[in-house]
Symmetry: D2
Subunit: 355 residues, 4 copies
């Protein structure tokens, strides 16, 4: 209970400033040739310190596999990995032992468990997402190679990438710091983030993710719908505030006549407001969804708060923090999507044994 995935299962552990973080993946099939480079690449895309607009914290984030892979091939046994924590300046957090940061999980963890690890946010830290990226990049390798999962930054604050995703060149995504494939928009986003950073403030944004070449039939009726599994995974990301797929919240303003996706004779559809899913099951069209992220709660400017005794205090972020979370969240979104798909892909192997 409280793992990621239904059949393909990820258990994770680790606190931000503990010795290591890591995880175990159960029910990974045997015989998959594992490309370790690709896993490290996704981890590097998530890593702090990549560019001027993300946190300057340096984390090596070198993943080490301890089991389940033999000579580069999965053996069907649990795959475990650890990522050592390094460069963790616990003294940055001593002032938080007895105080609760606004819009952080300090207060709720303390109240729920009666104890909390306050260093770097402990278990509530987004450092955990390095585990997800590792597991997702692995799970991606279970899927048929033609399936493409691509996420990009579609807004920062009020700056939106207004072009439909079909008009974007995804090969541009990593060519700029903010990971928006539209250069003009990307520049505006980067300026905005730099401006916000200078103020010691932070800003929110959204990420759009597109899944291409997904076979028909992925996702389960009723309690395992593809969109529900994706929503759950995305809402698990630390700053995530919302999820929509296909027409999303805009679809709620439309009429059925405009919204219905009429079939072509080959059962592709003329439009794709459905977002590639009908009845929880992929229909062969692109699956696409959008994820909202709130601004990072840690500000490099003073904020009023209270200590555990209720005395007023002033808090100011002293660590190294992101002014905007979305550029680094791009590989997180992709990896969680990959894990969800791989889980449902394996399950689908049992649905009709005659196929």
């Amino acid at each position: 209970m409280f793992n990621l995935g239904n059949f393909l299962q990820l258990s994770t552990f680790g606190e931000s400033h503990g010795k290591a973080i890591g995880g175990i993946i159960n029910n990974f099939p045997a015989g998959i040739v594992i490309d370790l480079e690709k896993i490290q690449q996704q981890l590097d895309r998530r890593r702090p310190g990549q560019s001027a607009i993300v946190t300057q914290r340096k984390e090596g984030d070198k993943i080490e596999f301890l089991s389940g892979i033999s000579n580069g091939i999965s053996t069907g046994m649990p795959i475990s990995f650890i990522i050592n924590n390094e460069n963790s300046k616990s003294k940055d957090y001593n002032h938080l032992k007895d105080s609760f940061r606004p819009s952080h999980a300090d207060f709720t963890y303390q109240e729920k468990f009666g104890i909390r690890d306050y260093n770097g946010g402990g278990r509530a830290s987004a450092r955990e997402t390095a585990n997800w990226v590792s597991a997702g990049a692995l799970a991606k390798q279970i899927l048929p190679k033609e399936i493409e999962i691509t996420a990009f930054v579609s807004s920062v604050g009020e700056i939106f990438c207004v072009k439909p995703y079909q008009d974007l060149d995804f090969s541009n995504i990593d060519s700029n710091e903010v990971r928006c494939p539209d250069w003009e928009t990307a520049e505006k986003m980067i300026s905005k983030i730099k401006e916000i950073k200078k103020e010691g403030n932070t800003i929110g944004g959204t990420i759009t993710c597109v899944i291409r070449n997904l076979p028909i039939g992925i996702g389960e009726p009723v309690f395992g719908k593809l969109q529900a599994e994706l929503a759950k995974a995305m809402l698990s990301i630390n700053a995530c505030k919302g999820f929509e797929y296909g027409s999303g919240f805009c679809g709620a303003k439309m009429t059925g006549k405009d919204h219905n996706d009429l079939f072509n004779p080959d059962f592709t559809t003329k439009t794709n407001l459905s977002g590639g899913i009908q009845g929880g099951i992929s229909n062969g069209m692109d699956v696409y969804f959008r994820v909202a992220f709130k601004p990072v709660a840690t500000l490099l400017q003073p904020q009023e708060s209270y200590d555990r005794q209720g005395n007023p205090i002033l808090l100011e972020g002293k660590g190294r923090h992101d002014p905007c979370v979305v550029p680094r969240a791009v590989p997180i979104v992709e990896s969680l999507a990959a894990f969800v798909l791989a889980d449902l892909y394996l399950i689908n192997k049992t649905r009709n044994l005659n196929k």
Copy 2:
């Protein structure tokens, strides 16, 4: 696998036009006095045929409990229930045997399973939600009585209820057909739906749900976050296209300085853009979220489609269908939220045994 809930678990069964639908709830605690009236009330709020703006299908929707309740008290044994299907006009669906309705699950079910029950949508029908309402209304009774879960229609098409929920009188929700507590807005919504219905068209909308008096500590770190569990449940509803909580997609446009919820000395917060959740765990403030619903796909006007052989056909909804799903979805949203909360509430009993 593929039940609702982690610990408190609902398994359901049933096709729209089969003999019955129903479910089994596992791990329901013993000693709960069950108010069967309240369950039937929620079912009646979901039922077709309530008013002029919903489907005129007549379904009795009488729930029968078969186990787990003795003299009105839960025994700790699995609670099972069935709701017989009546008045199901299967012949309404004969024309669908070999054709796929646009934006329905006909095509994906057929492709995934190689077989499908085409009567009334079979398992993909929203009739399943009667099971969820039953189970959720039961699960609600596990929770402390002071917890209030209230959903209402916050938009129909382009018509929005713009007042903040704090300014609405929730006792008005059921006083009008559309279940919007703001009378003026409600009237506009009702007119719009009648107009759309006359055209044989349908329209989307949103529902807002507010949870009051939830104790601190409900929800689990990392893979059992309250918002993730709610999102998954809501995205399981048939027409749902999106979920946001607290500041939601608007939060993605904001800066941290504006978004952070500063504490009061008693650890309530001055604002509540967080939506009552920090780190996946309730913080004692109101939890609120919004759910987007697409327009119903079945239109009472002809639509072009193709039969299984790829020949062009004209489809026209012949059954009795809703022009707008949101009024009847209100109890569904409430019930799923109740089930999610009851599940996490029970789990929380094991988190610190010293408490």
Copy 3:
């Protein structure tokens, strides 16, 4: 949680004297042609009132399927079934409201849950096993047809069927009331049970189960071993006190030299003390195991006990009860074994996608 099976999952409900018992099977594959006759046959083998040596209670035990099967073919949707309770003489149990029968679950249910349904043992009644037989007989139909699962009575009290199972003609099993394929032994067993019954006493026994033609590869390493799954299922049967497979408890007396199963060149083994399983995984040889059942606790003679207030009382079974449980437990053992195998068989489809 607390279902039967890991992936193929059975949830059940029902008390002995409630309206009905039944269950839901999740993740049953689509496209399986279902032979309903075979399910009813196994239920009839379990049913009370079949012969002079089992309880004379009459239960129709007619199973009704409510979902998941369309025109005799599984649709991939949850399969649900109910078996109505009839002929339940609740007044037989009124004397038990405030008293606890020796070696029954009355006391533990009352203490654990603070409430219990005392009619006919409520949820603790072996009536539940009718659900298992139904589900197991269904699950059997997922498996390749050549797999044979055969159980028989191998001892009653001190009377043992001493021949190795290879020397028995399994077609004789149902030719006598006690379901022992060795006629001579069967006659002794029947006499013994009749004698015991006359005394108002009961007697224990064992069942041996043999699984033939099981493919290599069924069962999972470490926490899903075939023998562990079988053991768990068997120990769930109401009167079961023990499980052994292959050499079992006798194997604990042996040396490695005598116990090891040497290979033939085709990787069958010369002996089969392993019981067809190595490392939790079937090796292609016969899987066989033995299950011990205690004597039925309800005696048709007076026993001393105490009521809830601790006052001494005399209890005497007034209902219709079995003098020996093993003849009717034969289809239960077979059905549970079938369910376990079908669960692991489906899971195995995901282990190596290249196969």
Copy 4:
């Protein structure tokens, strides 16, 4: 899926000759003071090289905790641990790359997964049990301190400890190499094992486990029975061939009159053939069970076998192996029992919220 435990969950990883083994425990409650010494003590009791009658392999088996414990107190977060592999002589196993050892899992792993780690048995090695001992010794600390879980060797080959467990002094268990509390029997067992070892042979045995002071109410009806959970855990141990509790297989020879446990006025029972469990739920009496272990399959004498091509070969154990597994299995049995109990103990906290 395929973890140990229903709610308290252990995921493990690791191959015998990989870098490390380890695990993650989910849903461990917060606020438990952890005695790390006790965990290491149990690990030391399991460790090879303790005495003349067990394998002379030297493994440090030092456990390292990576998360979930802060200043010696559990935080409610996943507890992870690793045990590094050292002194693993992989070259001892090179001859096994293309051959299958009799009564080992080499053949079934190869066939099922199409790939296997042949060094030291890989994942199928009993080295995995070090993970279980770690997790079980931790889980033990969740339970009320008065609960005692004590296992001991009750037979080696044909040598049985015939005294009832009530007449044994459990403080003697660790005073001899074989872990049988009856000195006279212990001496015979030790001689027997030494004799068998000299021959390069191995021998089986049984372990009895007694759980004292278990509160009433542990265990769940139907699919979570205490005996079924214990059986599943025990049958997961590598060499285990059988499980019985209470009267066990002897109970199958008895009559109900002799077998029933009559109550005392305080609802303890006069006898305890039930083994402390009624209806799957503990009744406050001692829970006791017995586990059968086959002789170790690796012999230090030549055995005939075949390589993957079907050519005859002679195999002879070259590593360091146990002549008898039961002395070292004592802490394994205790630890698995502790884990099962802790899992069911936590679940029981949710059964009646009024208590």
